[in-house]
Each structure stands twice: as structure tokens, then as C-alpha cells.
């Protein structure tokens, strides 16, 4: 990549000091499907809309929430293919960390490395920034944690956050509903209610996805029937 005639960065400063490409990337995220995450006292929940482009798409083949390690999961808002590339790189980095230190990678380390990759693509030659924001959720020796990583490569730890289309309403809703001593089960209900707020159409286990991790430190994606059970509880 360094040798080619096109090895200059496509992301350059505007006179006002902004990186316009990153602003545009955030736009791409902002028009993506809503996703959110909530950190409870004993776990983390992440959730996202799963609106498929047509009823003909086989929804069982689509999974937006992915595992990076047995105890760290990730959800995105924005361009699906970009998130796949990041997840793939992060998985590899987690394995390399384990090979070197014989310790499962701490969440902060994995977030840092993922963010570093995203930043690289805002400065390297011939590439564009990633059109996704990620919510990374996990449970390690420092307890339950939730991080958001943006296309610029900046990351923040959140108690609860939302991204995508309905972000402002969702965040307002979360601000009202969030409590420090929330249990994981309450957090799941709150996540569903938050998604329901801006949802167009009938919400069901087939058009949303939920991932949870508790004190057992095993991240898992709920099945659509489990989601339907939670939806029934919430009604």
C-alpha cells in the first residue's frame, strides 16, 4: 500500500479544522438501523433492529450481533460489511493477545486495538474511514463494561448508549430509565422498550436482535423465541 502512486490520505483537514470524511462517516452511521447497549450491575445487554430489505430474505441467515471472544460481543450501526471487517480483525487480535500473554484479552485492550484500526483508516493512503460505530459489550475481571467506538477511532465507556437512526429519542429514553443498580433482567426490558419507542411496524423476535452477558462471562445472542418471551413480559 505504501509504494503505490496513490499513497496519499483521502481524509484531509478542511480549513475549519474538521475531517469532513469522518463527519460523513458519522452520517452513514446516523442513517443506519438503531442499536443500543445498557450496562447493568451484573451484566450488559446490547440490542439492535434487524429490518431486512425484503420479506424474501431468510432472516435466520442474518446475525448482526457477533462474538469477538467468549466474553466480549459487539453490535453496530451503519454499514454491515464494514463491521464484518472490523470484527474479523478484532477476533484475530484477541487470539494474538492470548497467544502472547496466555490471558483472555481485557475488554479495554480489545477496544483500544479496534479503535486503533479505525483510526488507521482515517490516515492511511487510499482508504476511507469505516462507516460504522460499534458498541462493544463484555464482562471481565473489571466487571461488566460497555464501550462505543466511532469511525474516527475515538472510544468512550458508557453506562447506556444508543446509535443510528433514532439516537436522540433513544438516548433521552435511556437517560430517564437508567439506574445504577439495574439488574440484567431489568436492563433487557429497558432495552426492548427503548427499541420499541422508535420502531416502525410490529416488533417481534424476528426483527430485533438481543445479546447479553452476565456474571457467567459467556456472551450469547438470544434466540427469537426467547425475545418473544421477553416481549410478552414487557407488554
Amino acid at each position: 500500500m505504501g509504494d503505490s502512486q496513490y499513497s496519499f490520505s483521502l481524509t484531509t483537514f478542511s480549513p475549519s479544522g474538521k475531517l469532513v470524511q469522518i463527519e460523513h462517516a458519522l452520517q452513514a452511521v446516523g442513517s443506519g438501523q438503531t442499536s443500543l447497549g445498557i450496562k447493568a450491575a451484573n451484566g450488559v445487554v446490547v440490542a439492535t433492529e434487524k429490518k431486512l430489505p425484503s420479506i424474501l430474505v431468510d432472516e435466520t441467515s442474518v446475525q448482526k450481533i457477533q462474538l469477538m471472544t467468549p466474553n466480549i460481543g459487539v453490535v453496530y450501526s451503519g454499514m454491515g460489511p464494514d463491521s464484518r471487517v472490523l470484527v474479523r480483525k478484532s477476533r484475530k487480535q484477541a487470539q494474538q493477545y492470548f497467544r502472547l500473554y496466555k490471558e483472555p484479552i481485557p475488554i479495554t485492550q480489545l477496544v483500544r486495538e479496534t479503535a486503533a484500526v479505525m483510526q488507521e483508516f482515517t490516515q492511511s493512503g487510499g482508504v476511507r474511514p469505516f462507516g460504522v460505530s460499534l458498541l462493544i459489550a463484555g464482562y471481565d475481571d473489571n466487571g461488566p463494561q460497555l464501550y462505543q467506538v466511532d469511525p474516527s477511532g475515538s472510544y468512550f465507556s458508557w453506562k447506556a448508549s444508543a446509535m443510528g437512526k433514532n439516537v436522540s429519542n433513544a438516548k433521552t429514553f435511556l437517560e430517564k430509565r437508567y439506574t445504577e443498580d439495574m439488574e440484567l433482567e431489568d436492563a433487557i426490558h429497558t432495552a426492548i422498550l427503548t427499541l420499541k419507542e422508535g420502531f416502525e411496524g410490529q416488533i417481534s423476535g424476528k426483527n430485533i436482535e438481543i445479546g447479553i452477558i452476565g456474571a457467567d462471562r459467556k456472551f450469547r445472542v438470544l434466540s427469537s423465541s426467547e425475545i418473544d418471551d421477553y416481549l410478552a413480559e414487557v407488554e
Binding site: G2, D3, Q66, M68, R88, K92, Q95, F98, R99
Partner: protein, 273 residues
């Protein structure tokens, strides 16, 4: 626009140092002894899955380096691998393939298959042309059933109902050849594996100490570390030892006093800041 950086190095193993090592050996250099696992490792297929077994002695030439090392390595929740040969090589290669299998599991969303581990191992070992001294017994249970393979340092593999590797392989194989039959039960399988490993422990100098067993069946793996301990320490005196002064013969005495080299002087000028 000229080249800003040099070309990236081409991949592949560089054999330069191997030719240098051969030259040094010819000129009379004594190679330092590798820590080898000596070893008796075995595996067999029984009616519900596979049983793997290994001894626990690691040797460095004529010295026992580790009396209770672990030779049955984790590859995947449903696949384990026994390793004989150079300890560092078996550790490194099994760790590496285990890592690759985990990435593959995330990418495919499926349980790992034994043939996948087998192919990853043999391609790696072949590319190093036998210089990675790892002889392995790979066993596991996947969607296609129970599997048992042996992998040799040069990269060849066999698929077998029962297998032994390592310096104690002949002792262990004699047990298998006389007592193995198809359709063994779990208890019979474990007993036979333990017997074969004991044959290696007692008849081969490179193998010793304890018996490790690993049973892999559909959906369940049991790692029985130190399943048998046929070589317990029996000579520690519980009372301890007392040594009376004068018991050790003094051959000569030399006393050297340490003279002070630096003298502290009181007063003097204060240091300039």
C-alpha cells in the same frame, strides 16, 4: 516517484541457519540438548468416542526436567492432541493451531472438525520440512463421528483405530496389539490406555511418572489429569533431618577481613548548588 520503503520480505522458511548448523556439527560442535518429551503417548477409538493417554515425564538428555508435565494439549472443546518430540515445538504448534481453530469457529459458527486440525497441523509441519520436531496423536469427536490420527514431524499423517507415538510407543503398542478390539466400552478403553501408558512408563527410560487420560465423546470431554499415580515419592522423612554441628568434616579455614575502602570525613565545605 521513487520507492520510499524497501520491499516486504518474501514469506516462507529460510533454511540458511539449517545449513550453518549442519556445517557446525560436521566441525565438531556439541549441540545443546533440547528438552525432549521422551514420552509415551497413545490414543484409541472406543464405541462412544476416543480416549487419549500420555505419561508426564519431560527429559533434557539424561535428566528429568519435569516430573509432571502436561502432554495432552487443548485444540478445541471437542479435540485434544498428545505431543511427543521437542516440548517447545509441540506446545507452540498446538497453541497456534488451537488459536486458528478458534478463529475458524467464529467465522463459520460451527464446532471444529478433527480433519481441520489435522490439515492445519500437517501443512505447518510440512512447510518446515521436519525441522519442527513434533510427533502428535490427535483425537476428537465432531459431527462426522470419532476420529484418531497420528502426525509425524515431516507432515505425514495416518488415520487409525489405535495409535502410539514417542520413545515408549513400542512398549505401548505391544499392549494395544494384544488387547485392542472394536467396540470397547468407556471403562475398558480407559483401562487399556492406562495399561499401555504404564507399559511405556516402566519399560522406557524416556517416559515415567504419572498417567494422564482424556476421554472425548459426543458433546462431552473429560480431562483426567493424573488419572493414575504409579510412582509416588516414598522417601521423604516426615520427621525431617537434623545435622549436629561437627558432623561435617572441615578441610581448611580461610578468613579474609573486609578493609574499609572509604573514609568518612567530618566537616568540609558544603556542596555548591
Amino acid at each position: 516517484m521513487g520507492r520510499m520503503t524497501e520491499l516486504p520480505t518474501k514469506g516462507g522458511f529460510s533454511f540458511d541457519l539449517c545449513t550453518r548448523n549442519d556445517m557446525l556439527l560436521k566441525n565438531g560442535l556439541q549441540m545443546p540438548p533440547f528438552r525432549k518429551t521422551g514420552t509415551t503417548i497413545v490414543g484409541l477409538v472406543f464405541q462412544d468416542g476416543v480416549v487419549l493417554g500420555a505419561d508426564t515425564r519431560a527429559t533434557e538428555g539424561p535428566i528429568v526436567a519435569d516430573k509432571n508435565c502436561e502432554k495432552i494439549h487443548f485444540m478445541a472443546p471437542n479435540i485434544y492432541c498428545c505431543g511427543a518430540g521437542t516440548a517447545a515445538d509441540t506446545e507452540a504448534v498446538t497453541d497456534m493451531v488451537s488459536s486458528q481453530l478458534q478463529l475458524h469457529r467464529y467465522a463459520t459458527g460451527r464446532e471444529s472438525r478433527v480433519v481441520t486440525a489435522l490439515t492445519l497441523l500437517k501443512s505447518h509441519l510440512f512447510s518446515y520440512q521436519g525441522h519442527v520436531s513434533a510427533a502428535l496423536v490427535l483425537g476428537g469427536f465432531d459431527v462426522t463421528g470419532p476420529h484418531l490420527h497420528t502426525v509425524y514431524p515431516h507432515g505425514s499423517t495416518d488415520t487409525l483405530p489405535f495409535a502410539t507415538m514417542g520413545s515408549g510407543s513400542l512398549a505401548a503398542m505391544s499392549v494395544f496389539e494384544s488387547k485392542y478390539r472394536e467396540g470397547l466400552t468407556r471403562e475398558e478403553g480407559i483401562e487399556l490406555v492406562a495399561e499401555a501408558i504404564c507399559a511405556g512408563i516402566f519399560n522406557d527410560l524416556g517416559s515415567g511418572s504419572n498417567v494422564d487420560v482424556c476421554v472425548i465423546t459426543e458433546g462431552k470431554t473429560e480431562y483426567l489429569r493424573n488419572y493414575q499415580l504409579p510412582n509416588p515419592r516414598t522417601y521423604i522423612s516426615s520427621k525431617g533431618y537434623t545435622f549436629v554441628k561437627g558432623q561435617t568434616e572441615v578441610l581448611s579455614t580461610k578468613i579474609t577481613s573486609i578493609q574499609p575502602k572509604v573514609e568518612a570525613v567530618e566537616g568540609g565545605d558544603a556542596m555548591e548548588e
